[in-house]
């Protein structure tokens, strides 16, 4: 006689449950990431953004999703149907599967392999296949050109990205994602402070990897209309879209895990900053208060009834969450995921912010930046990082000092490489 609890404790079932939770949460995060992007961009651009569906457009992602699902499915004449169908699936699969290796909290991850980071890189590199196949299967010139550009860009910046990751691995001494976070806890410092150059390279390469402005050439609508997914519509398009935003979350998660201490709270070893653990309470409390304030200031009347109701429900929910978080065990359990998501959101905000600020590189400029600047600097950084570590191991130098010296030397090389550029 097996009880329900025993079934739930089977390793396979447990993994399945975690996969389900991660997948659902991720889908929701991605959907609302699109909403956040539209709202933040709108704010930057003195507009309102979505306001109609739900209070402040909160239901807009759901409406968009429904619309995309119900749209007519168009396959262009002469397209390779099977490949056309396969391509978005590959891309989505690649970007979602990689999340199974990300530690969201101390004890919450789908799996923790001893070569975790390598697998994340491996799985996310599969996404390129979807892009190139999608562009080819459309049987049209603009998508093919977009796909070729996209592939060239992704492959080039993957090199710089991987080299940036290597220096974090050197510091941590492990490839396990959770192990890297724990190494940062042990060494009492986020690796971003030990390896600022690598962090910067990772950040830039991550933007290029996700085809975001200023590296959004594959989708440069003023040149290539919409890049590799020009011919895609409806559900298939939404898959590409989903994959793109999931990839954004993924690279942010990798960067956070490797360089910003993953699920650790800021300064995890400083005792007197312990009050920071109440941050989730504050965030939810603030959200609840805002909802109630909006609720009272919302226009009354029949047509606003549902919107007001929703605001009220949201406010109540947030307030209840804040109160629930005051219960110590819940508070402790929520710490990891809260800080992880908060840091990831910081990254995502930067992505959106850049999109509102920068013009776009030209293709040759992008490639030159990648091959003539990013990759050499990344390689030099790895070399100097190794030198710094050896200095501290063999000669007993202060570890932070030698690493900072290494970063300084890298910066000198970078300045030499960047000379004479406008």
């Amino acid at each position: 006689m097996t009880t329900l609890l025993e079934i739930l404790e089977q390793p396979l079932v447990l993994a399945l449950i975690r996969v389900l939770i991660v997948f659902t949460a991720l889908s929701l995060i991605v959907a609302y990431l699109v909403y956040a992007e539209r709202k933040i961009l709108a704010h930057i651009q003195v507009r309102l953004g979505p306001m109609r569906v739900g209070p402040h457009g909160l239901l807009q992602p759901i409406a968009d999703g429904l619309k995309l699902l119900l749209k007519e499915d168009i396959i262009p004449e002469g397209a390779d149907r099977a490949v056309f169908w396969l391509a978005p699936a590959i891309t989505v699969l690649a970007s979602f599967t990689a999340f199974s290796l990300i530690p969201f909290a101390d004890n919450f991850y789908v799996t923790d392999v001893n070569v975790g980071l390598l697998f994340v890189i491996a799985i996310s590199s599969l996404g390129v296949l979807g892009i190139i196949l999608g562009g080819w299967a459309s049987n049209s010139h603009y998508p093919l050109l977009g796909a070729l550009r996209s592939t060239a860009q992704l492959v080039s910046y993957e090199v710089a990205l991987s080299f940036a990751l290597i220096s974090a691995i050197l510091l941590a001494g492990t490839l396990s994602m959770n192990g890297i976070v724990k190494a940062q806890l042990q060494q009492e410092v986020w690796f971003a402070f030990m390896q600022p150059v690598a962090f910067f390279i990772l950040f830039v390469a991550a933007i290029a990897e996700t085809n975001r402005n200023p590296f959004d050439l594959p989708e440069a609508e003023s040149e290539l209309v919409a890049g590799f997914h020009t011919e895609y519509s409806g559900f298939r398009f939404s898959l590409f879209f989903l994959a793109e935003y999931a990839a954004m979350v993924l690279v942010s998660s990798i960067a956070v895990t490797l360089f910003l201490g993953g699920w650790l709270r800021p300064f995890p070893n400083v005792e007197w900053l312990g009050f920071l653990r109440f941050a989730p309470v504050v965030v939810f409390g603030a959200a609840g208060t805002w909802c109630f304030l909006r609720f009272f200031r919302f226009p009354t009347g029949r047509e606003w009834f549902w919107q007001r109701l929703m605001l009220f429900a949201l406010g109540t929910g947030a307030a209840a969450a804040a109160l629930g978080l005051l219960y110590p065990p819940v508070l402790v359990a929520s710490q990891g995921a809260f800080w992880f998501l908060a840091k990831v959101f910081l990254f995502l905000y930067a992505f959106i912010w850049f999109r509102g600020t920068f013009p776009r590189y030209r293709f040759d400029q992008l490639m030159r930046l990648g091959w003539h600047f990013m990759i050499p600097v990344a390689i030099v950084n790895v070399i100097f990082c190794g030198v710094g570590l050896v200095l501290s191991w063999e000669l007993g130098w202060n570890r932070s000092l030698s690493l900072l010296l290494a970063s300084g030397a890298t910066l000198l090389v970078a300045a030499w490489l960047a000379r004479g550029r406008s």
Binding site: L145, G356, F358, R360, Y361, F363, S422
Partner: protein, 375 residues
């Protein structure tokens, strides 16, 4: 449409490839079609195919009376309708031998300069959008909206204004006109600083525009370029200064010029021009003379037989009207010299040897309006 050869040969560089850009391409600013001969992504030569928006405006002019034709000119360069109207009205006035009274000339100057700012704002927004900067277009439209509101209050229309009449103005300025303009001017300079903060020092913007689409001063003159395209190449030529019209001889303003004649210089020139327009408007708004707003020219316009050419400095360059009168109520021949049309012909020279992405930037920097190119 030509059959475009397969992309594969494009990339392997076996042959030259012809690629059609437009007429529905999002960044050809309307219905321009550019036939590009490419080597890989590099442009070997190009050919502009125009006329998709041809409406026969000049021919229509021969079948309308002078006053009836005035609204038509608004529809050539439809983002700078006020300037078109000014050019046409002054040309007919010259033909009639009449002159608008000072108050009318002052108001015309103010509105035309506001229109120049509005046109440049639209150019800046779309140009930046073509190069991938998404935000400036919204900022620009915010200020352009203020200008269009002033137009709407003044004459009831925002885009195709038909603001002026032959011989002067139809409407007296509305109550609070001066306050509105001053309020706009008060904020405007800081707003221009805001745009420049986003773009002028931006490394990506500089990389995308500096050294791209170079036009030498000699070439610019030889090809008949005018306006910011000419001044960006370093030629200090402005019809407002060379042959003053309206009330321009009364105001102080500088003529900004570029040095290298590249896209970045033309950008800087237009930004400076907005500041100078602001300066002119500020001077004019404080000194609007009182008096009549229209000259007495009678209801039926019958200019004496003869011909006249009158040109003004429209936002995009020299906008000229050549009118031949046979003494009847309708022009015998009416010809518009559109700045966009003439400026467009330097495109081929500017984009040779550049990449496709640069073509988009260069089309943007020429600031063409297809309504004016095709008429």
């Amino acid at each position: 449409m030509e059959q475009t050869p397969s992309v594969s040969t494009t990339i392997l560089g076996a042959d030259e490839v012809i690629l059609n850009m437009g007429p529905q391409h999002p960044s050809t600013h309307g219905v321009l079609r550019v036939k590009l001969k490419l080597d890989g992504e590099k442009v070997i030569s190009s050919e502009c195919i125009i006329g998709y928006l041809h409406r026969g405006v000049e021919k229509i002019g021969e079948t309308r009376t002078y006053a009836q034709f005035a609204p038509y000119v608004d529809r050539t360069d439809y983002v700078a309708a006020v300037s078109n109207g000014l050019g046409y009205c002054e040309a007919v006035e010259k033909l009639l031998g009449a002159e608008a009274p000072p108050r009318a000339r002052w108001v015309r100057t103010i509105l035309t300069e506001l229109q120049r700012i509005a046109s440049h704002l639209l150019w800046l927004g779309t140009h930046a959008l073509d190069i991938g900067a998404m935000t400036p277009v919204f900022y620009c439209f915010r200020e352009r909206e203020e200008i269009l509101k002033i137009f709407e209050k003044y004459c009831g229309a925002r885009l195709t204004t038909h603001a002026f009449r032959i011989g002067g103005l139809l409407y007296e300025t509305y109550d609070g006109f001066e306050e509105d303009v001053k309020k706009f001017c008060h904020d405007f300079l800081s707003r221009v600083d805001e745009y420049e903060e986003l773009l002028t020092e931006n490394r990506i913007w500089i990389q995308r525009t500096r050294g791209v689409g170079i036009l030498t001063a000699d070439d610019a003159i030889a090809m008949g370029a005018s306006g910011p395209v000419l001044r960006g190449s370093g030629v200090k030529w402005d019809i407002r200064r060379a042959f003053p019209y309206a009330a321009y001889d009364q105001f102080e303003f500088d003529i900004p010029v570029g040095e290298n004649g590249d896209t970045y210089d033309r950008y800087l020139v237009r930004m400076q021009e907005m500041r100078q327009s602001h300066r002119i408007v500020l001077q004019a708004i404080d000194s609007i003379p009182s008096g009549p707003i229209a000259a007495r020219i009678g209801k039926v316009l019958k200019p004496p037989p003869g011909e006249v050419y009158h040109s003004i400095e429209a936002p995009k360059g020299e906008l000229g009207y050549y009118i031949v009168s046979d003494g009847s109520t309708q022009p015998y021949r009416l010809r518009i010299r559109p700045p966009s049309f003439v400026n467009l012909q330097v495109l081929d020279q500017m984009i040779r040897g550049l990449l496709i992405a640069d073509v988009v930037a260069v089309i943007g920097t020429l600031d063409i309006v297809l309504g004016e190119v095709d008429r």
